[in-house]
C-alpha cells in the first residue's frame, strides 16, 4: 500500500508528464487559454488514461510480450509480438477514445457537452501513448501499480494545464516584448514552472 501511494505522489509531482517528460505539450500549449476549458481537457485526459493504460498493459502482458501467449497453449510459448506494440497501443487508444465518445454522448449528454470537443484531441495526445510506453519500459508488475501510475500521471497533467491556464489569464495584463508574446512567453513560463516542480525531486515518502 505504501509503495502504491509513493508511486502516485512520484507520478504526480516528480515524474510529472509535462514538466519532466514534456508529454502532451501540443494540447498543453494550444488549449490552455482559459481555466475552464483546461479543466475539461484535464479531466478527459485523466479519464482516458485510467481506462487505456490498464488495457494496454493487459494486452502487452498477455498477448505481446515474448512468451506472453503461453497461457493459450504451450506451442505459442516462444512467440514474440513485442514489435507490434506501438501499432496495438495506438489502435487501442484511438478505438477506445471513439468508444468513450459514443458512450458518453448516449448516456450523459451534459458530460458530453463538457468534454465532447476534447475527446478526439486526446487520441493524439502524447501523454496517453507515453504512459502506455513508460508502463511497458519500466515493467510494472501488477494491474494496481499500472492503474495508480496512470491516475497519477493524469492528475499531474491536469494540475499542470490548469496552472498554466491560470497564469496565462493573468499575463494578459502585463507588458511583454511583442516578439515574445504568445508562444515565446508560454515556453519560458513552462520552463520556470518546471524548475519549480524540480523542487520535489528526491523527496522520499
Amino acid at each position: 500500500m505504501d509503495s502504491l501511494f509513493n508511486l502516485f505522489v512520484r507520478s504526480v509531482f516528480i515524474d510529472n508528464m509535462i514538466f519532466a517528460y514534456f508529454l502532451g505539450m501540443c494540447s498543453f500549449l494550444a488549449v490552455s487559454k482559459t481555466v475552464k476549458t483546461s479543466v475539461g481537457l484535464g479531466i478527459a485526459v485523466i479519464f482516458v488514461l485510467l481506462l487505456t493504460a490498464p488495457i494496454n498493459w493487459l494486452v502487452d502482458t498477455y498477448l505481446l510480450k515474448p512468451g506472453a501467449m503461453a497461457w493459450i497453449s504451450s506451442s505459442l510459448a516462444n512467440v514474440d509480438l513485442s514489435y507490434l506494440s506501438f501499432l496495438i497501443f495506438i489502435a487501442v487508444i484511438a478505438a477506445f477514445v471513439q468508444l468513450v465518445e459514443m458512450f458518453v454522448e448516449k448516456f450523459s449528454p451534459p458530460l458530453y457537452n463538457a468534454l465532447g470537443i476534447f475527446l478526439p484531441l486526446i487520441a493524439v495526445n502524447c501523454a496517453i501513448l507515453g504512459v502506455a510506453l513508460f508502463v511497458q519500459e519500466r515493467e510494472y508488475q501488477t494491474l494496481s501499480e499500472v492503474t495508480v501510475y496512470a491516475a497519477g500521471s493524469g492528475v499531474g497533467w491536469f494540475l499542470a494545464i490548469t496552472a498554466i491556464a491560470a497564469i496565462k489569464e493573468k499575463i494578459k495584463y502585463s507588458h511583454i516584448p511583442p516578439p515574445l508574446r504568445g508562444l515565446g512567453i508560454s515556453f519560458i513560463l513552462t520552463g520556470l514552472m518546471a524548475i519549480a516542480f524540480m523542487g520535489f525531486m528526491g523527496i522520499k515518502i
Binding site: M25, S85, L87, V124, G184, L192, I195
Partner: protein, 219 residues
C-alpha cells in the same frame, strides 16, 4: 482530383516545390510557428547525437507517411481517416524503431519511448491533415521532408547549446580547452536539466520573431 491530368506536369524541383521544402525552415517552422511536435522536441535535446538521430527519424517518417497518405487520399473514407493515418504512421515508426535497435542500439536506448512517440507527434497528423490529404504525392513528400528538416533544425540548435553549455562538448567531443576550466569556468549543470530546453526554445522563438515581424502575435 483528376488522375489523368498529366498535360500540365511540372519539373520535379520547380520553384513551387522548392518552396515547399524551404518554407518550414523559417517562416512556417513546425515547432516555432505552427506549434507542432513539441513533446519530443524537448526531451531528446540534451546531446547532439540523439537529437540528430531523432531529427532524421522524424524526417523519414514525415516524408514517407505524407507520400503514402497522399497516394491513398482518394480511397480513405473520411470518417475513419484518423485511424488509417495512425496505422500508416505506426507501421513506419515500427520500421524506424527496429532499424535503430539493430544498428544504433545505444542511441535507441537513450531515445527510449520517444521513438514510439513519433506516432503521436503532432507534426505528422498536422501535415497529413493539412497537406497530404489534399495534394499530389510528390509535393506531399517534399512537404513532409521539409517539415521534418525544419523540426530537426530546431532540435539540433537546442541540443548544440545545451550540450556546449551543459557539458562542454559538441557531438560528444570536448571543445572547451582545459585552460578555461583552470581559470575557474564551470559547466552549467542547469542546462542539462529538462526545464532549460523549454527556455532555450522560448529564446529561439523570441529571436526568430524579432527578426520576422510578421510572425509576432497580434493580441
Amino acid at each position: 482530383m483528376s488522375a489523368n491530368n498529366k498535360s500540365n506536369q511540372e519539373p520535379l524541383f520547380s520553384a513551387k516545390n522548392t518552396k515547399l521544402l524551404k518554407k518550414p525552415f523559417n517562416l512556417e517552422n513546425p515547432i516555432t510557428v505552427q506549434v507542432l511536435g513539441i513533446c519530443s522536441a524537448l526531451a531528446v535535446t540534451v546531446q547532439m547525437k540523439p537529437a540528430i538521430v531523432m531529427a532524421l527519424s522524424v524526417t523519414i517518417v514525415t516524408g514517407f507517411s505524407n507520400l503514402l497518405i497522399s497516394f491513398l487520399r482518394d480511397t480513405i473514407p473520411a470518417r475513419i481517416r484518423i485511424i488509417v493515418q495512425l496505422v500508416v504512421v505506426a507501421a513506419l515508426v515500427i520500421i524506424v524503431d527496429q532499424i535503430l535497435k539493430a544498428y544504433l542500439y545505444d542511441v535507441s536506448k537513450k531515445l527510449s519511448v520517444f521513438v514510439g512517440l513519433i506516432i503521436t507527434n503532432c507534426i505528422l497528423m498536422g501535415r497529413l491533415e493539412a497537406f497530404a490529404m489534399g495534394n499530389k504525392p510528390w509535393p506531399s513528400f517534399l512537404d513532409g521532408i521539409g517539415n521534418g528538416i525544419g523540426y530537426g533544425a530546431i532540435l539540433v540548435i537546442v541540443a548544440f547549446f545545451r550540450e556546449l553549455l551543459g557539458s562542454g562538448k559538441i557531438y560528444g567531443y570536448d571543445v572547451i580547452p582545459k585552460v578555461v576550466f583552470e581559470t575557474g569556468y564551470v559547466n552549467n549543470g542547469l542546462m542539462i536539466l529538462p526545464p532549460m530546453a523549454l527556455i532555450t526554445i522560448g529564446v529561439i522563438i523570441w529571436l526568430q520573431r524579432s527578426r520576422n515581424r510578421e510572425l509576432v502575435d497580434k493580441s
